[in-house]
């Protein structure tokens, strides 16, 4: 078991970070909503996308296939964008402060936004890193084959 993990590249471990961030996003979002004002308004689509992203991230970890990471990325990215657009007015209240949002609510919302953003960024980084690494490996293999 230990050997299994010892042999893994860094992009494999990034997967866990992505999974953890997505899990944290779901838990925080479902339990507290987008912000203190919007606790009751939980978007099913956002939750579904985050869960789907987690499932595909887990599958990518199990099967070690970078193609699955792309699917996970698409889900998490779409979930993130939905989160941003459903809370467009919250952003508006940051900028046009006729009725300003309290600082603690701003901090909470921004933190959740960053967590969601990191979840899709990390899986994308993992996928692209894996892609680069595997193509490099293939290229070397091709060279070896050609040399033989």
């Amino acid at each position: 078991m230990l050997n299994f993990f010892r042999n893994k590249k860094p992009y494999y471990y990034i997967l866990f970070a992505s999974f953890a961030l997505a899990l944290a996003s779901v838990i925080i979002y479902v339990s507290n909503g987008a912000n203190e004002y919007n606790k009751e308004n939980i978007s099913g689509l956002i939750v579904a996308m985050l869960i789907a992203g987690m499932v595909f991230t887990a599958a990518a970890a199990v099967f070690e296939l970078r193609y699955i990471k792309y699917v996970a990325y698409a889900c998490l990215f779409y979930g993130f964008l939905q989160f941003v657009i459903t809370e467009l007015n919250f952003w508006g209240n940051f900028i046009i402060a006729t009725d300003p949002v309290p600082a603690e609510a701003q901090r909470y919302y921004l933190s959740l936004t960053v967590i969601m953003l990191l979840s899709w960024v990390t899986i994308l980084v993992s996928a692209l890193w894996q892609k680069s690494s595997e193509y490099k490996k293939e290229k070397e293999q091709d060279k070896e084959v050609a040399a033989e």
């Binding site: 987008a34 912000n35 203190e36 004002y37 919007n38 606790k39 009751e40 308004n41 792309y70 990325y73 698409a74 990215f77 779409y78 964008l81 939905q82 657009i85 809370e87 467009l88 007015n89 919250f90 508006g92 209240n93 402060a97 006729t98 009725d99 300003p100 949002v101 309290p102 600082a103 603690e104 609510a105 701003q106 994308l124 996928a127 692209l128 892609k131 193509y135 084959v145």
Partner: protein
Amino acid sequence: MKIFKKKLWETLSVVMITLLVIAITVNDVTTARSGQINEFLGTMSYEIKETEHPDDYNEEDYVYFPQEMNFDNIEEYYRAVNERVEAEGLVLLKNDNGALPLDKGSKVSMILSGSAETFYATHGPGITPKDKINDDAASELLPNHIITLKRAFEEENKLSVNPDLYAFYKDGKGKTGRAQIADKSGTKKTFKTNEPAWSVYTQPVKNSIANYGDAAIVVITRISGEGDDVTAIGSDGIDGSYLSITAEEYEILRQIADRKASGEISRIVVLLNSAMTIQCDFLFDEVLRIDAAMWIGNIGGSGARAVAKALVGEVNPSGRLSDTFLKNNFAAPSAAYWKVNEGFASVYENADKLNLNNLQKYYGVYVENIYVGYRYFETRYEDYVLDRTYVGSYAYSDDVAYTFGYGLSYTDFEYGNFNVTRNGDEYKVSVTVRNTGAKAGKETVQIYLQKPYTSYDEENGVEKASAELVGFAKTDVLEPSAEETVEITVNREQFKSYDAYGAGTYILEAGKYYLTAAKDAHDAVNNILEKKKAGGATVIADRMVGTGKAALAAELTDVCSVPVDSETYSVATETKGTGNEVSIVNQLSFMDPNLYDGVINTARSNEKVVYVSRADWDHTFPSSKTVLALTEDGEVKYDITSHKPIVEKEGLTMPKYDRNNDVILVQLRGLPYDDPKWNDLLDNLNFGEMVQMLTGCFGYTPAIRNVGKPFTDEDDGPYGVSHSPYGYSSMSCEGIIASTFNKDIFREIGKAFALDARCKADKGEVDVQNLNGLYSPGLNMHRCAFGGRASEYFSEDPVLSAIASRNQIEEMQARGVVSHIKHFILNDEESRRNGICIWGNEQSVREIYLLPWEWSIRPSMSQGDNNELGAHAIMTSFNRTGAIWSSASDSFMMNILRNEWKFDGYALTDMADSNAGVFMTYDDGYMNGTDCFLGMGSPNELDKWANSVTFNNMLRDSAHRVLYVTANYSSAMNGISEYTRFVKKTPLWQAAVYTVLGVFAGLTAVSVSLFAASMIIDAKKKKIVAA
């Protein structure tokens, strides 16, 4: 095959997936907000097609609201109206030794930064564009430009302005930024004046004053606006209030006074440039040697010309104060509450324990009862003069600088031939006004009522003010020695009082009533005191401030023949004789802590809130904090929580949908609201269309094609179209409009707003202005000096507000511009306005705060000749009434508004599409009489209630109201005939979004397919190599 290069297609696939996800999201956003995008771009999701017309078809027959003015001539007209309003609205407060008017051509120094940083308007173009400021009288006045005081002074060489001092304020060291500094939480601002100190003035600037010393014109400016009340405690005013002058201002005034003493300056004139009541104690400070003062309010785009004309005597001031100006703003009970509670909004004592959020935990109490503005000062004054029991001591002159209705003129007027006659329920008051001075001018005659304050009232907590404005009239221009007799009708209904704790309805009581013709509220009380004295009452003469005339007051004893009549006005007037009479009973116990179990005061067990009462002034005046908490369960928990369960009403059936019976909206134009044909039209709708029409009203109401409902375009505009690109569109603030006391001007304002809204600009890049509705007028009250939105509301007096509002509305409605009066209800301050709980008692709410709405809406309160032209739309407010969001209060929205007043229009929320507005929920709103939500729309949000029969019926009622108002009162119907059909059209921008989405979807499919193919080929290749 190179085409199947795996790495390339993989990279492309990732890029295309990213772009596709973004495109899908953009499509989601634009679809949901298509109405707003269409409005912004001037596009439509339908086009109008005409079916075959009969031979006698005449297009003009279908122009229901003809356009009276176009863009080429609107500006000149609008500027003239603004100037006229300011000319009749500005109030001359002080004019010692005939300091005003100034000689034409006088050389003047404008003092303080307000001379260059004058405040024109809080809404619209007045506040923003520096490039529209035009302060050079030698230059041509460009279209759309705001006329500054300096420019107006120098036009036609009225006055010559000290250029060095002006430059010092405009671009030099004297330039200041009035500050609104946010606190750490980001939700509270501190208003500061930041006037530069005298030490900042350079010597050349100081020296320049002597060369322009005919007069020092001191411009004291205070800004305010939406979202915040101004700072009562912690500002840089001498007493910590933003509305008192600062130490810097005082020092500058003192320096100017010294120069007057030395002869460098001949006279000192103060202009108060603020919609709020600046504290006026300094005007009485002998050290400052101030000769004259004028309240000019926020002057709008062209009001400066009127100010200039008034200063040189080309305009004779005839404005009368629409608010009481005080020597100490905290002397008013509403402001005293503000002081002892350290602001208007307090947090419930147990807010943390109950886990209340920012939209639930704040409250404010209207402890002042009915004693708003002059009602407090004049009543307490009369009680003191009459030495009533429990009156305490009272020094009227220490509190009041200039009372409500006060105003000087450059001439003098005398009243005579005062007469009151009764004809049924109407009292006709007539009085002859004679100009006894040397200049021509107008006079405002004010009629005040005093009701008897009886032992029944004391026992039952019914309050009566010593003077209530019940009517007024303005004379024409009277030349010296000329006279005019004015007649004012007072309806007996105005004599009623609301008895919340006794009869639970309106009552009329036996006793002595007084009507008096007066120059202001204090004059009215003095007249009545003299009348009482003449009738044998004991009046302590040396307690009187000023004198009165008994001959200008009438004592009425025939008003009510029984001790307490709780029958006559217990039935809603609009319903009398209809067979469906509506009884007026207590509706607002849920917002009176003394009648509502959900509120507790841990320091007091019986009377949780002490309301100010003339039964005991000293012990009821706010002197300690009003600390409230909520009970942990029970009705308050239900009231303060959003998404109340929908209780299905018996006897309702699911509405019919999509009947396609060919009935369209225009065919129902002119039919009564309850005509059965409306059902045929409503049957053509479906749930989705109703949701579309009612949830997405962000400055418009959406079009519904299959019933022929056009898109209607609205804008904010309490005193002028708010988002107009034109500088001229700023009007003087509502307080100045009210202080004209001139019904003709109120009507002219309505006309000007309507014509401006519909002026249809078509000037190259200039935005198009073709509106069918305005969120105007603002109709909340000036209950406290620190209310930040004073510029959008008329007055502290409900009757003046009501008459101003009703006249304006009728002229707007007559021109197809739907007036959305705002904000219903009790949004009289801005502190924590999102969700703050407002507590008060029913008498004060009905008599002070609801009355202007009642007069603006009830058909029988018509001020013109068409009683259909009252308000047909309202905007509700952000605050709660008690613990319930105002727009979700069945008592206000249904029982009072619709049942008692017969309001047949629609109720639109204030900005609901924000996170601060999340407590303003669709279900709570629609279930309680709210019809439209000011937001971007929510196509699916209402689906969860789609199967509720009751919810569907409530939504259908809302759709009915919107359609009814559009059909009958909106200029959007112009050009629509029974031959008109609305055909679906995809706007260009939407087609572009669909195209981009399709292209990205296609490219994603291609790149993913090619990637897959390349992988297969690659795998096969490797297999072959391996083999």
